[in-house]
Structures are given as structure tokens and as C-alpha cells.
């Protein structure tokens, strides 16, 4: 028993360490292990160490809660001057900030370091679906919106929900509330429902469904990137089908607001070095990410634009007042 308890103490000590160590660089993934933010922290963290940009292995902390809101509040309120802290972020972060889902927190309470990859949005249907092009699907919704349901990996009003809304808006269909959407736990579950024929289309990020596209279980109607994506050249963009919509789920980092400009610039330089490395290119290719690098001041400006745009759209569909 004594050994059992000692082991137990060891395990809890280990747990305590992973939860609180601040000596080395710490990357907070604001969700449980296994999601996109966790992926960002682990991959960027691994490369930062492998490329010798930091001295010791990067400690990944999973701080889940309120869709990233708890981590955001924690950074703003308790870690505001920690120069060794980086936090994984994505479009979901800015979407929720724009929709005031972080309990009043705003995007200007942290500093946005950069994005080093993007996960383009996709609209897919099952392989036996009658819809061959994005136009087919859009016309079918215009004719009778009650016949088409989208499945996506975020809750109603979330990032996946906004994609079909933006496409329909570009097509001149403005009754956003008539477009049916069900939110599931992640893109893979959404695609299962679509292949099973329970929903007619799926909205997600391409990295979530690369396997299904390769196996031929689904047909991608459109990719929501500015250009076609390497490795998936036969998927047409929404733009070339006449719908001017670009939705890319970026993968990047923010840091506390209170750190010095030098510290901020150091992080921007390091992130750029990761983005330029051959290793990162390989990671992106293996996971269906498209190059999408914006670092430092450029990124800050871009974020402001995205937040403003999302706020407008969310207000139009009634997610916020």
C-alpha cells in the first residue's frame, strides 16, 4: 500500500507540474488534448525546441473551458506580464471574441503574435449526393431551405455555421435563419452524419476530412481558400464557382498584453522561423494545412479586420444583438 500511495503521490506531483510549471516556455492549449489548439501547441512547441529557438522543451498545458474563454481570462487577469507564455489560437478564438462569448473580454486585451498556417473551409456532400457543384446545393437551398441540413463541428453560431451562411449571403440569399444547421462534437462526427445520409451537407475544415476525401466516401463541392490547395488540386474554390467567400481557419498564437515590445518581437521572430522551417512545411502537408503566414504588426491589423467582420455577420444572423 505504501508503494501504491507513493506512486499516487508521484503521479499527482507529475500532474501538478504539468499544470503549473512556469520555468520553461509554456504553451496553453485552451481545450482538452486532441483538438486543433492542442495540435498547435504541440507542433509549434516541438519545433521551437527542435530548432533550438527555446532552451528546454515547451510545456503544453491544456486549460479547457468556455470554448477558450477560461484560458483567455486567465492570461488577461493572472499572467498579463509573463514573457514565457504563448497561447494557441484560431478562428474560433476571434469568432467568440467577436460574439462576446468570453464574458466581456475583447481582442485588444492580448497581443496577437501571428498565424503560420491555415485550414481552409470546405463544403462536402456524401458520394451518392445529387449535388455535383456548389451551385447545385445553393440553388436547392434557395428553392426549399427546409430540405437541406448542414452538419458541422461547432455549436450553432460557431465558425462552421458561419461558412454556409456566408456562401448563401454571397449568393443573394439573406434569410440566414432559414438555413438549417446542426452542431456536433467535432468535424469527424459531422461527416459521419453526412455519409450516413442524416444531413445533406457538411461544413468544416479540410484537415478534418482529408481521409474521407481520399477514400472517396465524400465529394468536396468547394474549398473556401483564395486559391486551390496543393494536394487537393481537383477541389474547386468557391470563388471560381462565382461565390466570393474565403474562410480560412488560421492556426497561430497570442501572448499576454503586458510583455515588453522586445519580448513580443522575439516571439514574432521565432514564430517566423518555425513557419520558414522545412519541418513545418512537412507538418502542414501531412495535415492538410495551407500556407498562411502573417506575423507581428501585420497580423494584429488583420485580426482587427476579422473581428469587425464577424461581429457584423453575427449581428445579421441574430447570434448577437
Amino acid at each position: 500500500m505504501k508503494t501504491t500511495l507513493l506512486k499516487a503521490l508521484g503521479v499527482s506531483a507529475l500532474l501538478g507540474l504539468t499544470a503549473t510549471t512556469a520555468m520553461a516556455t509554456e504553451c496553453i492549449a485552451p481545450a482538452d488534448a486532441g483538438g486543433g489548439w492542442d495540435f498547435t501547441c504541440r507542433q509549434i512547441g516541438k519545433l521551437l525546441y527542435d530548432l533550438k529557438l527555446v532552451d528546454s522543451p515547451v510545456q503544453v498545458t491544456n486549460m479547457s473551458g468556455a470554448g477558450g474563454g477560461l484560458a483567455f481570462a486567465n492570461v488577461v487577469n493572472e499572467r498579463n506580464t509573463d514573457p514565457d507564455l504563448i497561447v494557441a489560437a484560431s478562428s474560433a478564438t476571434t469568432t467568440r471574441l467577436a460574439q462576446n462569448a468570453y464574458g466581456g473580454a475583447t481582442a485588444d486585451q492580448v497581443r496577437w503574435v501571428g498565424t503560420i498556417g491555415g485550414d481552409p473551409g470546405v463544403i462536402v456532400v456524401a458520394k451518392d449526393s445529387p449535388y455535383m457543384t456548389l451551385s447545385d446545393l445553393v440553388e436547392a437551398i434557395k428553392a426549399d431551405p427546409s430540405k437541406i441540413t448542414f452538419a458541422g463541428g461547432s455549436a450553432a453560431g460557431g465558425f462552421d455555421h458561419l461558412k454556409p451562411l456566408q456562401i448563401m449571403k454571397a449568393a443573394g440569399f439573406n434569410d440566414a435563419k432559414a438555413i438549417k444547421y446542426i452542431g456536433l462534437n467535432g468535424g469527424a462526427e459531422a461527416i459521419t452524419q453526412t455519409i450516413g445520409g442524416f444531413t445533406q451537407a457538411m461544413t468544416g475544415d479540410i484537415s478534418e476530412i482529408t481521409g474521407f476525401i481520399r477514400s472517396g466516401d465524400v465529394r468536396a463541392l468547394a474549398i473556401l481558400s483564395p486559391e486551390r490547395v496543393a494536394g487537393f488540386e481537383d477541389i474547386p474554390t468557391a470563388r471560381e464557382q462565382g461565390f466570393d467567400v474565403v474562410v480560412v481557419n488560421w492556426r497561430g498564437l497570442y501572448v499576454p498584453k503586458g510583455i515588453s515590445d522586445d519580448a513580443f518581437n522575439a516571439w514574432a521572430t521565432k514564430l517566423q522561423a518555425v513557419a520558414d522551417s522545412a519541418e513545418w512545411q512537412a507538418v502542414m502537408e501531412a495535415n492538410g494545412l495551407a500556407p498562411f503566414t502573417l506575423v507581428g504588426a501585420d497580423f494584429q491589423g488583420w485580426i482587427d479586420g476579422v473581428v469587425a467582420e464577424t461581429t457584423t455577420l453575427s449581428r445579421e444572423i441574430g447570434v448577437i444583438q
Binding site: 501504491t4 500532474l15 488534448a33 462569448a101 455549436a155 469527424a188 482529408t210 481521409g211
Partner: protein, 505 residues
């Protein structure tokens, strides 16, 4: 034949002294982690991921280590269920119902051996299923839409009446408390927060681990304090540990039935191990009919849920590997590991990375045998836990509960909530209201509601959609029978002579 050569490939990758050592370490760590309240398989695997990278393990070795921890935790969860009446993790909850009464009767050793063997049977059954049927079984997930999932959860709730209480109405009250708590948090179907009162910590709802540790471990502490250590559940009688061959033979049917039910629940991404062990238990109870002493230490009540939850753990690997859909928290962490190693699970995984898939399967088999051999002789060591005086054991359990819960989100709020659940559990136990249905309500209530509302969106509010497929009609029939049958049977059957059996009808 192809399967055999694939399996040989897997063993050639996985079977060497170093990976065997990793399997032993992983199995041992996993068992301990599983046994500690609040620390479940997903924590265990998450803790060890950085360790695997620090050690510079390659993909196969890392998988061997982590799957050993995964399976080990599924074995370990039962230990504290049986010995302390505190489930080590959520799927082990059903094992408290009969495992702890067995321990009270001095049959702790029997319960541990039976449940250990049941775990082995369940896990091996699931691994065999994974080997033979994985690509085909992946298709089962395509047959379950919102209506089918709703009916499946409904089945769980309609059969819940007789769980752990002599009074069905009390079980219903408990389930309603749990369902009410499940409403807290962000509503998936509208994106709006409910009952959060602007409090960000409540946005994600109540974590069921917080509820479990609070309702079981912290409640136990309150009872211990109140009775000055006398009326507490801790400190059961210890008899000689032998291998109860007779009971093992008697429960072999329960193990197999439990394995099948658990495995099916595991394959369905929305169901998982907790539902698997619950349905296995309830099915066994109805198979036994009035001959069972469920709730008072029936060995079948230990064998069925343990086989069920281990089979579900193996089954859950199927949607994870073939669809990339994690059916549980743990498979989500394993999925993360694979993705960090640049292996993308999905329909093409078996074709693209046969070495990884078959190496994983081989390592599951290795881990399972290691765990069986480790668990049967080591039962004696685990039973020695009982010899530690409660005033040492209980503070230790309390401390581990606090650390474990804090590690979930690093937030004091969960600790406060856990103590709150402890207080709730204290009053519920005083009123003889069972706590298991509360947790099932929290665990499954959300899913049930989400699926009902998804079904209504898809069908434009047409409720007949709920009965539109063969699967859902079958599940509805089972649910209605499960709810109504006990009421009618009670009229026809005479009350059993002993008052002890009164609730077993």
C-alpha cells in the same frame, strides 16, 4: 489468412524486450491511475504523452506505452469501486453497486478476481472484434443518426428505475436532478448559454468527473467526519483471497453478454464506455430476473459491467482509427498522439499505415495479457489497501481528489463545485436517494437533448422522424418494454419470500 499475416507484422513491430518493458510499466501506471478517484484513463494518457516525447519514443513504442496505460486504467477503475465504494473513473461507477456489497461481506478478493477476469474477457473480445471486423464495423456509425442516438439514450433512462435503490421513485428523482444539471452551459443548438448566470466557469456545463468525485469521495469524507470514523463505508472486512473458480464459471455468461453489449456501445461514437457498462449491468439484471441479488453483492453485477466497460474501451478504438471520431475522452487523447506523430486516422489509415495499426493491435493484446497476469497475483497487494486505517486512507483519497480535479482545468471553481457535490451527496444519502442516476443524468442528459433537437432540426419538427428507421423502432420498443415490463411483472410474480430480494423483480 491476411489477418494472420497482418497480425504477425504487428507482433514483429511490437514484440521486443523494450516494448514489453514499456507495456509492463504502462499497465502498472495505468492500473494505479485508474484506481485513483478523479484520475481516469484520459488524464493518465494525457500525462504520459509529454513523457513519451521526452523519452524520444518512436510511434509504435509510444502507442504501446499509452495503450497499456489506457487498458490499465480501465482495469484499475474497478479497484476503488470495490474496496472504497468510490469509482476510480466514470465507467467503473456501475461496479460499485455490487462490488462494494461483496467487499462488505468479506468477498473483496473474489470481487477483484472476478472483475479482473471479466475485464480481460471484455478487452480480448473487443480486440478480437477490432482485428476481424474493424473496417466493416466502422459502417455501423453511419447507421446512427440523431433519432437513433436519442432512442439509445432513452433506453438507458427508462431502464434506470431500479438502480441502487429500493424505491424506484427515488431513482427517478435522482435522475431528474442529474438531467437538470445537464442543462447548465452552452446550448449546442442555439449557441446560447443557459443557467450560467454570466459565470464563465459554467459555460461548459458541469464536468461529470467533478460530480463523480464530489458525490462519492467527498460525501464519504462527510460521513466519516459525522460518525467519527465509525459509520463510514471505509474499512470493510477482509477474508482470505482465493480464486473463486465456481463464481468465475457461474459468471462466464454474464461476462460474454456484457462484452457484446459493451463492444456495441463502444463502436458508437456517441455512446461510450459508461453507457456500455450501464447497459451491460441492466441487461444482466433483467436476464437474472428474480434469481439475482443485484445491489447486494451479486457476482454477476460485478462481472457484467466490468466486461462491458473494457469491451467498450476496445470498441471505441474502431471509430477512432477508422473514422477519426473519438468515442471518449481517452480515445481523443490517443487521436491527438497519432496526429502529433503525423498519422491521420481515417478511412485510409489501415491501408496507409498497416505497421501502426497492427502494431497497435498487437500492443493491445500484449497489454491485456500483462494486465491479467499483473492483476490476479497483485489482488493481494490491492486488498492490503484495506489494512491501512481509514484515518490515513481517507485524507489521502481526499488530497488526490483535489489534485486530480484541479488538474482538469487548473481552476479553483471546480474544487468548490466538487465540495458542493459532496454536500449534495451527503443529503441524498441521508434521504436514501441513489447517486448513480444523478451522474448518468449529467453524463447522458446533454447528449440525449442535443440529439432530440438535432432530429427536430433535420425533420423540420416532424416528431414521426423519431420512429422512422428500424433501429430506432427497435430501441424504442426495448425502452418501452424496459420501463413497463417491471410494473406488470410485479403483479404476476409473487413477492419473493425474503425481503432482501424485494427489488429484484
Amino acid at each position: 489468412m491476411e489477418t494472420l499475416s497482418n497480425l504477425a507484422l504487428g507482433f514483429s513491430v511490437a514484440l521486443n524486450p523494450f516494448t514489453l518493458m514499456l507495456a509492463v510499466i504502462g499497465a502498472f501506471m495505468g492500473t494505479i491511475i485508474g484506481a485513483l478517484p478523479g484520475l481516469g484513463p484520459s488524464n493518465g494518457v494525457a500525462i504520459l504523452i509529454p513523457l513519451a516525447f521526452t523519452m524520444g519514443l518512436d510511434a509504435t513504442s509510444a502507442l504501446v506505452l499509452l495503450t497499456s496505460v489506457y487498458y490499465g486504467a480501465m482495469y484499475g477503475g474497478r479497484i476503488s469501486s470495490i474496496l472504497l465504494n468510490i469509482p476510480g473513473d466514470e465507467p467503473a461507477m456501475m461496479t460499485t453497486l455490487d462490488g462494494y456489497p461483496m467487499a462488505r461481506q468479506g468477498k473483496a478478493g473474489d470481487a477483484l478476481v472476478i472483475s479482473g477476469v471479466a475485464s480481460f474477457v471484455g478487452a480480448m473480445f473487443a480486440t478480437a472484434g477490432l482485428i476481424i471486423l474493424a473496417p466493416m464495423l466502422a459502417r455501423v456509425a453511419y447507421l446512427f443518426g440523431p433519432a437513433e442516438y436519442f432512442a439509445l439514450y432513452l433506453l438507458a433512462f427508462t431502464t434506470l428505475g431500479g438502480v441502487g435503490s429500493k424505491n424506484q421513485a427515488k431513482a427517478v428523482i435522482a435522475a431528474c436532478i442529474g438531467l437538470g444539471m445537464a442543462m447548465i452551459g452552452l446550448d449546442n443548438s442555439t449557441g446560447m448559454p443557459r443557467f450560467t448566470y454570466g459565470h464563465m466557469h459554467l459555460m461548459d456545463g458541469v464536468d461529470f468527473l467533478v460530480a463523480i468525485v464530489g458525490l462519492f469521495a467527498i460525501t464519504e469524507v462527510f460521513f466519516f467526519i459525522e460518525s467519527h470514523g465509525k459509520g463510514s463505508a471505509i474499512g470493510v472486512k477482509l477474508a482470505k483471497v482465493t480464486v473463486p473458480i465456481k463464481d468465475l464459471i457461474k459468471t462466464s455468461g454474464s461476462m460474454l453478454r456484457g462484452s457484446v453489449i459493451g463492444f456495441i456501445a463502444g463502436i458508437l461514437p456517441g455512446a461510450g464506455a459508461s453507457l456500455g457498462s450501464f447497459l451491460a449491468y441492466m441487461a444482466e439484471k433483467s436476464v437474472a430476473g428474480s434469481s439475482g441479488k443485484f445491489g447486494q453483492g451479486d457476482p454477476r453485477g460485478v462481472a457484467a459491467p466490468e466486461a462491458g466497460n473494457n469491451a467498450a474501451a476496445g470498441g471505441a478504438l474502431i471509430p477512432m482509427l477508422t473514422l477519426g471520431v473519438p468515442g471518449s475522452g481517452t480515445t481523443a487523447v490517443l487521436l491527438a498522439l497519432l496526429m502529433t506523430l503525423n498519422i491521420q486516422p481515417g478511412p485510409t489509415l489501415f491501408a496507409e499505415h498497416p505497421d501502426v495499426v497492427w502494431g497497435l493491435i498487437a500492443s493491445l493484446i500484449i497489454a491485456n495479457f500483462v494486465l491479467l497476469f499483473m492483476n490476479i497475483p497483485m489482488v493481494k497487494i490491492f486488498v492490503k489497501v484495506l489494512m491501512v486505517p481509514a484515518w490515513v486512507l481517507l485524507p489521502g483519497v481526499t488530497m488526490i481528489s483535489f489534485v486530480g480535479i484541479y488538474s482538469l482545468s487548473g481552476s479553483y471553481f471546480d474544487l468548490v463545485l466538487m465540495v458542493g457535490f459532496g454536500a449534495l451527496g451527503y443529503f441524498l444519502r441521508k434521504l436514501d436517494i441513489p447517486t448513480v442516476p444523478v451522474i448518468l443524468g449529467i453524463l447522458l442528459g446533454n447528449q440525449m437533448e442535443d440529439n432530440l433537437r438535432r432530429a427536430m432540426v433535420v425533420a423540420n419538427g416532424d416528431w414521426t422522424y423519431l420512429f422512422s428507421s428500424g433501429i430506432s423502432i427497435g430501441l424504442w420498443t426495448a425502452a418501452i418494454l424496459g420501463f413497463v415490463a417491471p410494473m406488470f411483472l410485479r403483479r404476476f410474480l409473487k413477492r419473493p419470500p425474503q425481503p432482501l430480494d424485494a427489488e429484484a423483480d
